[in-house]
Symmetry: C2
Subunit: 142 residues, 2 copies
Amino acid sequence: MDIAEVAKRSGIPASTLRFYEKKGLIVSLSQQGTRRWFGPGILDQLALISLGQAAGLSLDEIRSMFSPDGTPNIDRQLLATKADEIDALIKRLEAMSKGLRHAAACPAPSHLECPTFKRLLKAASSGVIERRWNKATPKPDL
Amino acid sequence: MDIAEVAKRSGIPASTLRFYEKKGLIVSLSQQGTRRWFGPGILDQLALISLGQAAGLSLDEIRSMFSPDGTPNIDRQLLATKADEIDALIKRLEAMSKGLRHAAACPAPSHLECPTFKRLLKAASSGVIERRWNKATPKPDL
DNA sequence: GTAGAAGTTGAAGTCAACTTCAAGTCAAGA
DNA sequence: TCTTGACTTGAAGTTGACTTCAACTTCTAC
């Protein structure tokens, strides 16, 4: 597949594919100056990258977990640790979703008067809810 | 409260508070050049901002949830939509976590060739995988 | 064989959310 | 009063993930 085909099939812009290759996240068969050629496995790799991003991993973290040819990193401990982190994130997101749904449905005239919402606020201000998307873990396009 | 007190109580750096004020997210009682003075309500407002951020809202979106006078004016539809988005993210994260755990345990030489991993990958990417700052990405053919 | 669409490169630009800096101001304690 | 330290400002810098640009080169079609 050439870059246009990969872009079309994956929905990822050609510029991003070139960027990923320069970053070392993916590899292509090509000599300097000639056109890139990607094997069919590229689509799975890109899916994996997108998945990692959705999980809040940086591109550098993703690269550290998977070699550009798609082989996983030997560091199984790292993978398990990341899985734990994701599970913790899931728990917080579940609480967040619940709170949001309540706030959206709550009949209280102002959310500052709604007990459930106030509880959420309290949790947020007491640091129970972490500020997720800082520079280390950039905010995904929710 | 002066800015140092607010910073201390909220855990948000003074520089960020100034930044928020310039952005129009919070207000202080002060004339140009003099020291800022914040009312006690600022802590709830900051909690609300942190909450919104944790929910994946941008600062601009959060600002739109306040009336010009600072009274919260929460868009219930937006909250419900955000909750839906978070739920969708949770589903993908669950697949990601499972995938990572499997990758950490699976003896297959390449996980992209492991049927279990591929199945999880497919499940995870079956929804549209969103990437950051990307406007109008064409829908993948996959 | 030539036009033009699409590819190549490195460098620079963008965007959000901050942080840091330089230069100056103010306020409380010795 | 003088020093010290926290505050003020606008401007510039940072970070991660891209996107856009300029200046080519190379396929593909006619």
